[in-house]
Amino acid sequence: MDAVWVPLLLSLKVAGWATLLNAILGVAAAYAISRWRSSARDVVDAILTLPLVLPPTVLGYYLLVLVGRRGVFGAWLDRIGIELVFTWQGAVLASTVVAFPLVLKSARAAFEGVDHQLENAARVLGVSETGIFFRVTLPMALRGISAGVVLAFARALGEFGATLMVAGNLPGRTQTLSVAIYEAVQAGDDNTANLLVLVTSVTCIVLLVVAGRLVPPAARGVGEVYERRAFRREAVGK
């Protein structure tokens, strides 16, 4: 059971931290981009969305080049005592980068969908710009943002390629569920592999259902919902 419990808890820990980081960074970046008036902003958006398009192993490689001991920032990180390669923090870094675009895109769309008239109303009523963000913009965008955050969590939970590159496969320390499954298959241990796959699937389903409940309902009052019913084109009976 240890073979299942340890990777499961590690996966949840890594995915949890990665999603928290992404919720903050993604929302901030999305808000900044949505308010930015410049043609450069689409370029910046594209660059920030790259992790979604690049193969995870390529991403892992880039991260390694940046934070590895001989990497661009590696030496500096080493000096201040931060170790990322072969640590769970490195796994968090990999998962964060990989899932970031999911929050960014959802949040940006959500922010751009907020009625500007409402923000203007708040302005005229004297509320500061920061106040407007927390009292009007964010609550109205919350539904879209939440959907993005849930996706990001699921992606982080299943992250494999980049994690393997940066954090390696150290049992108990960086061997997340996906990596554990990979190792079990490599070693020909189908029983463990099957068990791990089952646990991962069940966990993901439970999480998605819970997350679905937590997503706030649509901002009230966007018109009446059309109710489909069994239509009839001819009179019934006499």
Partner: protein, 240 residues
């Protein structure tokens, strides 16, 4: 209450060009701006509220300069103490009626609590008979109620002036008549000056002491009292 306004702005959208060139002065508490759709009425109100930046001009209310392109003054909307009633009310859908009305009383980061009603807000809730719907959401109330909530929200922070953008356009004629009378008595009881814009001549007749006719971005009719400027008169010279 005195008001001196000059606003000049060019707007370009795709292949359309629109030039706003407004200038007028008034000492009246009840100003009505009258003109067809697309004539620039809403743009004028937005400029006064600070939501639109003129290219040049001056906006002075009661001796207080809100905008002056020559001296570089441009107050943000938050500081203008101007109330704005939007054409479609712009009520916050995620807040209750009570929270909407109390919204402008606190300029910080937190919304008013759902169960509390500050006294300034309570005063308007009672004045407009909104007690019963105080905990409802905007999607659950009628058009007339929405209008009153929007008005209460605008008045609660004690503004220096209230701008009303086609306040009755979404209401049926009977309701419109009643609301017009309510607004009339409100105008009589409050010291707050109002600027109403409308394309309905009756609104103008009842609610305006100083009537400005606006067409294609310029003012070319200005009258006081019960004079009716002719509807859609031919274009004369610019009147200051």
């Amino acid at each position: 209450m005195s008001m001196q306004i000059t606003i000049r702005k060019r707007l370009v959208s795709r292949d359309r060009q629109f030039a706003l060139d407004i200038g007028f002065e008034s000492d009246s508490h009840r100003i009505a701006m009258f003109g067809p759709s697309g004539s620039g009425k809403t743009l004028t109100l937005r400029a006064i509220a600070g939501l639109l930046a003129p290219e040049s001009g001056r906006i002075v209310l009661n001796g207080r300069t809100l905008f002056d392109s020559e001296s570089g003054i441009d107050l943000p909307p938050q500081e203008r103490r101007v109330a704005y009633l939007f054409q479609d009310y712009a009520l916050f859908p995620h807040l209750t009626v009570a929270q909407n009305i109390a919204f402008g009383l606190n300029h910080g980061w937190r919304n008013p609590r759902r169960r509390e009603l500050p006294p300034e807000a309570a005063h308007w809730v009672d004045a407009f008979g909104l007690r019963e719907i105080v905990n409802q959401y905007p999607s659950e109330i009628s058009g007339g109620q929405k209008q009153r909530v929007a008005l209460a929200r605008a008045l609660a922070p004690k503004p220096d002036i209230v701008l009303l953008d086609e306040p009755f356009s979404a209401l049926d004629p009977a309701l419109r008549t009643r609301m017009r009378e309510e607004l009339l008595s409100l105008q009589a009881n409050l010291e707050v000056p109002m600027v109403v814009i409308s394309h309905d001549p009756q609104d103008v007749e009842i609610l305006g002491d100083h009537v400005l006719e606006i067409r294609e971005g310029r003012i070319f009719g200005s009258g006081t009292g019960k004079r009716h400027p002719p509807v859609y008169a031919p274009l004369p010279a610019h009147v200051a």
